[in-house]
Amino acid sequence: MRRVPGIGYLLVVLLIVFSVSGSGFATAANALNIGVQSAVLLLLALPMTLVIMSEGLDLSMGAVLSLAGVVLATLLMNGRPLPVALAAAIGVGAAFGLANGLLVVSLDLPPFVATLGTLGIAQGLALVATGGQSVVGIGDALPALYESRLLGIPFSIVIALAAFAVFRFALRQTRWGAYVSAIGGNRESLVLAGVRANRYHVGLYVLAGAMAGFAALLLTGRMSSGHPTAAIGMEFDAIAAVIVGGTSFERGKGSLGGTLVGVVTIGVLKNGLNVLEVASSLQVASIGVLTIVALVIESFLQPAARRAWRSA
C-alpha cells in the first residue's frame, strides 16, 4: 500500500474550496477546460520527471518551447506543410537537448547552470529571429487540428494523455526505462553491468528538448501564433509539478503518476483562481506558494523529516 503523497490532500482541499466558493468551477465543461490548459504543462513535466530522477534539471525547456513555437509558426506562415514544420520544431528542441546533455554529461557542468546558459541562448535566438514580435498568419491547418475532438475529448487532452501512457509504459515495461531509472542514485551498477550510462543520460536531455519542441504543436495551436517569450517560465511550472508530485532530487526516486497529479493540481489552482477572478500574475506566485506548502506537508508526513524539523 503506497502512502498518499502530500499533494493528494492538497488537491482535495483545493477542489472543495473552489467548488464551494466559485460558481462555475465544478462543471464538466470547466473540467475539460482545466485539461486543455494543463496539456502543454504535462508534455514538459513528463520528461522533466525523468531528468530530475537522474539528479539533473532542465531550466531551458520554457525558452526552447518558445523558440520551437517561433520556428513552427514561421514555417507555417511561409506555407510549409504542418508535418514538416512540426519536425523542424522537434528538431530544434532535440538540438538544444543534445547541447544540454553534452554540457551536463560529457563536460560535467552542473545541470542548473548549464541549462540556465542554454535558456539564455534559446531566448536570445527567439528574440533575434523575431525582433520581439509575434509570428502571425499561420494558416488554418494547425488551428483546425487543435480545435478537433476525438470522441468528444479535445485534441490537446488526447495528445497529453497519450504522451503520459507512452512515458509510463516506456519507464515501467522497457529496458530503457530500467536503465533510465538507475541513472540517478544507481549509476555505478549500471556502468558495472556494461550499460553505456552516458548515452542514456544524454538521451534523457535530448528527449526533454524534443518534447519541448513537440509541445510547440499545442502551444502554437492554442495561440494561433508564435511568440518569442510565450512559454518563458513554464519550466518552473513543470519543475513545481514534478516536485509536488513527490519526485526527489536525490536517489532517483519519483513517479510519473505523481507528476500527473502535480500537473492537475497546478491546473486546478490556476483555473480556480481564474474563476475567482484573481489576477493572472498572482497565479504565478501561487504556484511557488503551493510548492512550499506541499513540501511542508510532505515533510510532516515523514517521521524522519519531522524529527529534523523539530531539532532545527
Binding site: S281, L282, A285
Partner: protein
C-alpha cells in the same frame, strides 16, 4: 591570485580591442559609464557571491531587485520620504533573503530550486503589484545616488568600493567570513568543527537579499523610474559576473574582488556590443554563452586540481 591576474589581462584586452574598433569607447565619459554600470552589477552579485561560496546559489536576486525597487518607489512617492522608501527596499530585500534561507535550511530544498521558485513568485507579485504602471520622477537629491558625481566620479562607484572593502574585511578577517568558506569547502567538516552551519547559511541568504534590496534603491535612483519588468534582465548577468570572477559553483573558492572583475568584464562586453551597434536582443544569447564558458572553465579547473591532489 594568478588566475585573477589572467582575468584582469582579459579585461584589458577587451578594452584595448574596443578602443581600436570604436571611437567612443576610450572617452572619460564612457569609461566612467562602464564602471558605473559594473558597480550596479557588482552590488547585485556581491551577496550572490557569498551564497555561492557556501556551495549554494541565489537565483532570485534579479527578481528581488525588481520587486524591492517597485516597493521602494511606491513608498517614496506616496510618503514623500526618500529614507522611508529606501528602508522599504532594503527591509523587503532582506525579508526575501530570510525566506530563501529558511527554505534551504529548514525545508532542505536544493538552493537552486528554492530560489528559482522565489524568482517566479517575486515576478508574479511584481506584475500584480505594478500592473502596467510606471512610477517615475524622483527628487534630484535621491537621483544623485544613482547618476550623480562626487569629485568627478559617479557615486555608485564609491558604493561599490565601500562594499568591496567591507566585503573583503568580512570574508578575510572575521570568523563569520571564514565560516562561509569552510561550509562551502566541506560542510560536514565545518559542522564537526563547531561551525553553526544552518545559521551561517541563513545569514548569507539574508545578506544576498539585503544587497539586492540596496542595489534596487541605487538602480531606482539611476533609472529614475520603476516598472514591473526592471528586474528581469538582471539575473543572468549577476550569475555570469560571479562565475567569470572565478568563484566556484562547488563552493569554498572565490572572492568578491573576483566578482568585481567579472562584473567589469561583462559590462565591457555589453558596452562594446552597444558601441558596435549590435542589436540589444543579442544580449541574452551572448550572456548565456559567457555563462557556459565560465562554468566550463570552473569545472575544468576543479578537475585539474583534483588530478594534481
Amino acid at each position: 591570485m594568478k588566475t585573477l591576474a589572467y582575468r584582469l589581462i582579459a579585461v584589458a584586452l577587451i578594452g584595448v580591442a574596443l578602443s581600436f574598433t570604436t571611437e567612443s569607447f576610450l572617452t572619460v565619459a564612457n569609461v566612467l559609464n562602464v564602471f558605473r554600470q559594473a558597480s550596479l552589477t557588482f552590488l547585485i552579485a556581491s551577496g550572490l557571491t557569498l551564497t555561492i561560496l557556501t556551495a549554494g546559489l541565489d537565483l532570485s536576486v534579479g527578481a528581488n531587485v525588481g520587486l524591492s525597487a517597485c516597493l521602494a518607489a511606491t513608498v517614496m512617492q506616496s510618503s514623500g520620504s526618500v529614507a522611508l522608501g529606501a528602508a522599504t527596499g532594503l527591509v523587503f530585500g532582506a525579508g526575501v533573503g530570510i525566506v530563501n534561507g529558511l527554505m534551504v535550511t529548514l525545508l532542505r530544498l536544493p538552493p537552486f530550486i528554492a530560489t528559482y521558485g522565489m524568482l517566479w513568485t517575486l515576478n508574479g507579485f511584481t506584475y500584480w503589484f505594478m500592473g502596467g504602471d510606471t512610477i517615475h520622477g524622483f527628487s534630484p537629491g535621491f537621483r544623485a545616488l544613482g547618476s550623480g558625481y562626487w569629485l568627478g566620479v559617479p557615486i555608485p562607484i564609491y558604493l561599490m568600493l565601500g562594499f568591496l572593502l567591507a566585503g573583503a574585511v568580512f570574508t578575510r578577517y572575521t570568523t563569520l567570513g571564514h565560516d562561509v568558506y569552510a561550509i562551502g569547502a566541506n560542510r560536514e567538516a565545518a559542522r564537526l568543527s563547531g561551525v553553526p552551519v544552518r545559521s551561517r547559511i541563513n545569514l548569507v541568504y539574508v545578506l544576498s537579499g539585503a544587497m539586492a534590496g540596496l542595489a534596487a534603491v541605487v538602480y531606482l535612483a539611476r533609472l529614475n523610474s520603476a516598472e514591473a519588468d526592471i528586474g528581469e534582465p538582471l539575473t543572468l548577468p549577476a550569475i555570469a559576473a560571479v562565475l567569470i570572477g572565478g568563484t566556484s559553483l562547488f563552493g569554498g573558492v572565490g572572492s568578491l574582488l573576483g566578482t568585481l572583475v567579472g562584473a567589469l568584464t561583462l559590462t565591457l562586453v555589453v558596452n562594446g556590443m552597444n558601441l558596435l551597434a549590435v542589436d540589444a536582443s543579442w544580449q541574452p544569447l551572448v550572456t548565456g554563452v559567457i555563462v557556459l564558458l565560465a562554468v566550463w572553465i570552473d569545472v575544468v579547473t576543479r578537475q585539474r586540481a583534483e588530478a594534481n591532489a
